[in-house]
């Protein structure tokens, strides 16, 4: 047994180290999740003590309430927020806050809807063109704030917020004039030839299509760009210090534009896959897509890592399903959103908590040293 361990350490020296470092990174997230659930439980207890334990159970069981198929549906539903999460993450790593993922998501949806109706090529490859066009549309929507930031010093947060509203009105306008169903005030339902292929034959899982697979592939691509390419290195360098990377000869303006553009691409794909299905139509009411804002918490819980984003999106979807389960009790489903917010808050202060523990450790070791001198 010991021999094997030794060999393992020789063969894969980095694994143990990686495991350890990712665990210490994950630790604050896990603690925050527990604290968030605790707060959720306390709120349930305050509003109605009698049902609070059952509530907690329903919340935790989330998508698994319907067994394994339920979990498949959770995976499926997590796909759009994986993509908006990736969009936010990508900008985060470059030191930009992309609050405009919602707008990019919406124009991505618009482009996919238009293309899907105009060129319904047919299964199983009809979805590819709409997704690509959706990605490009989202990319353009992200590119604009990036360009303004790089060339005119416009704050990307404000520019993105404006782009969100412009997107809401613009998408509503175009849908109303093109593929519009007046009775439902929504877009026409997607032609079969442009829908994403479904995977399962059973009735319960009939809505599950390949969107989760697409999302995971995009996440892997994002991971490769960020950690294996020169571009990714430059983007991260800009994120650490804009001045230093400029001094090192990087074209920081180009990097800002590229980061926002690529970020928009991801959100655009999210919007595209969200609407390339039988069950969803775009309503023309002026509303900012919630997926964009959920993407922010997905990115935060994903620790700024594309692979982490997959897991955090699944977790948040699971939690959301748990919130839906609460409908059978006295509680409103929004409890899951409260827990989500509390988790994000604790994650944000966990940095401070960690710093405090480090400080304590340092103090203790200093005291030890001083004590030793005596």
């Amino acid at each position: 047994m010991k021999q094997i361990k030794k060999w393992m350490e020789i063969l894969f020296p980095k694994i143990k180290q990686n495991m350890k470092s990712s665990f210490t990174k994950l630790n604050p997230i896990l603690i925050s999740v527990l604290l968030g659930l605790l707060v959720g439980f306390i709120i349930m207890f305050i509003f109605n003590p009698a049902q609070s334990f059952e509530g907690l159970y329903l919340l935790l069981i989330g998508g698994f309430k319907d067994g394994f198929p339920g979990f498949i549906i959770v995976l499926h539903k997590s796909a759009p927020i994986i993509l908006t999460g990736l969009a936010v993450t990508f900008a985060f790593r470059t030191g930009l806050f992309n609050i405009g993922a919602a707008g990019q998501f919406m124009v991505g949806a618009l482009a996919a809807i238009i293309t899907g109706h105009a060129f319904s090529i047919g299964q199983p490859f009809g979805w590819i063109l709409p997704v690509i066009v959706g990605a490009l549309a989202g990319g353009i929507w992200g590119f604009v704030p990036g360009l303004l930031k790089a060339t005119r010093n416009v704050n990307e947060v404000v520019a993105s917020i404006m782009m969100n509203y412009i997107a809401a009105y613009f998408v509503s306008l175009v849908i109303q004039r093109t593929y519009y169903n007046e009775t439902t005030t929504s877009s026409l339902s997607m032609p079969t030839g442009s829908r994403l292929p479904t995977i399962f034959n059973s009735l319960q899982l009939s809505s599950v299509d390949i969107s989760f697979i697409i999302a995971v592939i995009v996440a892997i691509i994002a991971h490769i760009i960020l950690s294996k390419t020169v571009l990714g290195f430059e983007l991260k360098a800009s994120g650490f210090s804009l001045d230093a990377s400029k001094y090192a000869g990087m074209n920081t303006k180009r990097n800002v534009i590229l980061a926002m553009g690529i970020s928009g691409l991801f959100a655009g794909i999210g919007g595209a896959i969200f609407y390339l299905t039988a069950s969803r139509e775009y309503n023309i009411g002026i509303q900012i897509a919630a997926e964009g804002f959920t993407g922010i918490s997905v990115a935060l819980l994903g620790l700024g890592e594309p692979i982490g984003v997959i897991f955090s999106a699944i977790f948040l979807t699971h939690l959301k399903e748990g919130g839906f389960n609460l409908q059978s009790l006295v509680y409103a489903t929004e409890l899951s959103d409260i827990i989500n917010a509390v988790i994000v808050y604790f994650v944000s202060i966990s940095v401070g908590i960690q710093l405090y523990f480090k400080y304590l450790k340092k103090k203790r070791s200093l005291q030890k040293e001083l004590g030793g001198d005596k």
Partner: protein, 319 residues
Amino acid sequence: MDVIYIIIENAFFSIIPLIIVAFGGLYAERSGVTNIALEGQMLMGAFAGILLVRSLQNQTSLEPQMIFIIAMIVGGIVGLIFALTHAYSSIIMKSDQIISATALNLFAPAFAIFTARTIQTGQQIQFTSNFLIRKIPILSEIPIIGEIFFSRVYLSLYVAILVIFIGWFVLMKTRFGLRLRACGENPHAADSLGVNIYRVRFIGVAISGFLAGLGGVAFIISIGSEFNATVSGFGFLAIAVLIFGNWNPFRIVLAASIFGLLRSLSSSYYSIPFIYNLDLPTQIYGMLPYIATLVVLIFFSKNSKAPKALGQIYDQGKR
């Protein structure tokens, strides 16, 4: 002439809350703390204020204006308390200010909907809209000014004017204001001169939460007769106004007025004949204010005067 009055009256719906909330943002940001959570603080204030309005209307026979004042104060206090969580995390716990603010923005609508749905049947909170002041005697007789400022107005208009002058005076003319600005520009220098950075920033964020909550109540009261757990992105717009106003009190007023007038033009275009005759789709008018803000930002951002230490975590050890 009447058309112009209608446009101005409508514009006040946006201008008043934008000014109040943007001044809140001003106090947080000039002290060096970004406050993207204005939206959440507005929403929490509005939620508490409107709940109070409804119960006061149902259970007491107070004057409408009195109820409005109480609701604004309570909304402000709730906004303040809520903002303290942001102050705690971003000043004491040295967390990323955008992350903590995002948490607040996520929390507020969820909490409002959850509470409303748990204590009553739906998420909308209805109230009677009887807060409009039709005419103020004597003053409304003054030509033009009387028509604009003293007839068919909400009390919040005068609150906003008060906020402008007090806000400007405290920030620019008092010792506290000077210290607050110093914290946003160069906290280490301010610290070396004996200013307690943490305390000043805490107060800055607290003021910002108070004004945001107050602005939230003012906003909801003037636009309808129900609260549906949203403030329509006005907190975010206030941040845009703040940046567009270059962190300067009077330019914020100007920025809010331009934005409010554009928004009013776009929502009451049907009462202006020559614009109505253009026969454009309604969505075009809807997006106009946002496009205009973006264009203005493009021209004025080059020489932006953001507080130098904005968003930076203050660490005494780094001095």
